[in-house]
Amino acid sequence: MMLIAGTVPIADMPLTLGEVSAEGDFLLVDGRCVPCTQGTGAMVSAALATTDYLKLEAPQVLLAGDTGQGKGSRKLYEYLIRNIAELAPQVLALHYWLPNIVQTRQLCDAIKECARRPVMIADAASMYSAKATGLAGDFDIFTPDATEMAFLADPAATHPAYVQRHLIDTDIKRTPELIKTAYRNGSAARLLLVKGAVDYIVSNGEILATVSEPDVPVMEAIGGTGDTITGLVSALVYAGLEPHEAAIIAARANRMAGKFAQATPATRVRQVIAQFPAVFREYLCQWSGVCYTQGVKYD
């Protein structure tokens, strides 16, 4: 199974674990409603759209309410540390939470006790804590944006707000330099999907591919469109694609969904997510070489 863990912006929502389903503009988990907005909600929605299309088991999600004070985040960490070996997911995708260096280290230790190591994916603050802890190498996939790439390249930064100015000032054409620096410092996962005007797919320091079409610059303004890429890549890895293949298709699909949605800066992320089935119908077979008709796979 694929397990996605993260906080949601509902202050009183307790720790909740269950299979996710969609209900209009909301997600349903164990009878609780979660909005499909920026953050873990958008990521889960994109993953669910993918598993639905591929007729795979829906993601299991571990959610906790947290509006910034960290209580829900600590519950997530504690539950995962205690139970990850028993949960035994094939893919573990970590998302929004209050980064905690001690608990991140404990979680990585607990994962080493799993009979089968999950594919480890981190975005948002779970990526911040993995880097700040010095355990980026324990992860298979990070999905930073351009600013977060500068953060990964800065050995002293524990949060993107403290990145060296000259790294932030860099032109996007210098992203490959930041990538090299991050790998040299041991601050990158095995695979990076760097989201930006040009998306870079990088494996162990080597740039395997770039994706720049379709070009939909307004996507940067839409809250949650980075989260959807992480959801897509997580579900595509769960579907059996190699991480770099999953990353390339995720980058293409996200851009194409923005185009299909005729996105403006005022577009909401759920409008982009609503386009994923149409994007998959039109392009997934062509992009992946793996084609489905009514749930039946053919090559």
Binding site: G39, T67, G70, Y96, D145, T158, A221, G223
Partner: protein
């Protein structure tokens, strides 16, 4: 050995609150613990020492909420500093992108986009801390001047950067010097 382990754990949050007076440090620890923060009294490294040889170790990401609690509780402190002395100053860079009818203002990893004509916030994006999706929901569809302030509602460095983006957006909108 046990002593060494405890000392290491005290510095795991990557940030320190620095004080002039020992009594302020002790008061701050009590106040922050009462508010639910996981903090610890530690000796600051010599290069960060300001006035006294006690500091409060914090999770640096929680800087915004911690400074607010200390101010509200009238606890005097010198500054909140990253533990590593080679850490850069907090980013002050703000970038503005013209999207035609809309303007996007970016501060570090946080972006806020508003409609030029009405000044209504249409999107926020970026970040990764748990208050950001909450602030996204609170800010969207509100006029810049009437929107809740991330600096007051939020708790984390991401919220602090969103506050900077909102401040810059307000200045642009009120000053009429939009791209």
């Amino acid at each position: 050995m046990a002593f060494l382990k405890r000392k290491k754990a005290a510095f795991e949050g990557a940030g320190l609150v620095l004080f002039n007076e020992v009594s302020d440090a002790m008061q701050a620890e009590k106040t922050l613990k009462r508010a639910g923060y996981q903090v610890k009294l530690v000796a600051p490294p010599p290069e960060l020492r300001k006035g006294c040889d006690l500091a409060v170790a914090i999770n640096l990401v929680e800087k915004l909420g911690i400074e607010r609690i200390l101010r509200q509780s009238d606890v005097a402190y010198v500054e909140v500093a990253p533990l590593r002395i080679d850490t850069s100053e907090i980013l002050e860079i703000v970038r503005v992108t013209d999207f035609g009818d809309w303007v996007m203002v970016k501060a570090a990893n946080m972006k806020l986009t508003f409609e030029k004509k009405s000044g209504v916030i249409v999107n926020t994006s970026g970040g990764g801390c748990p208050d950001i999706p909450y602030l996204h929901a609170e800010l969207i569809d509100k006029p810049l001047g009437e929107a809740p302030r991330p600096g007051e509602l939020g708790f984390t460095l991401c919220a602090l950067m969103l506050e900077r983006a909102l401040e810059e957006s307000l200045a642009l909108y009120k000053g009429g010097e939009m791209p």
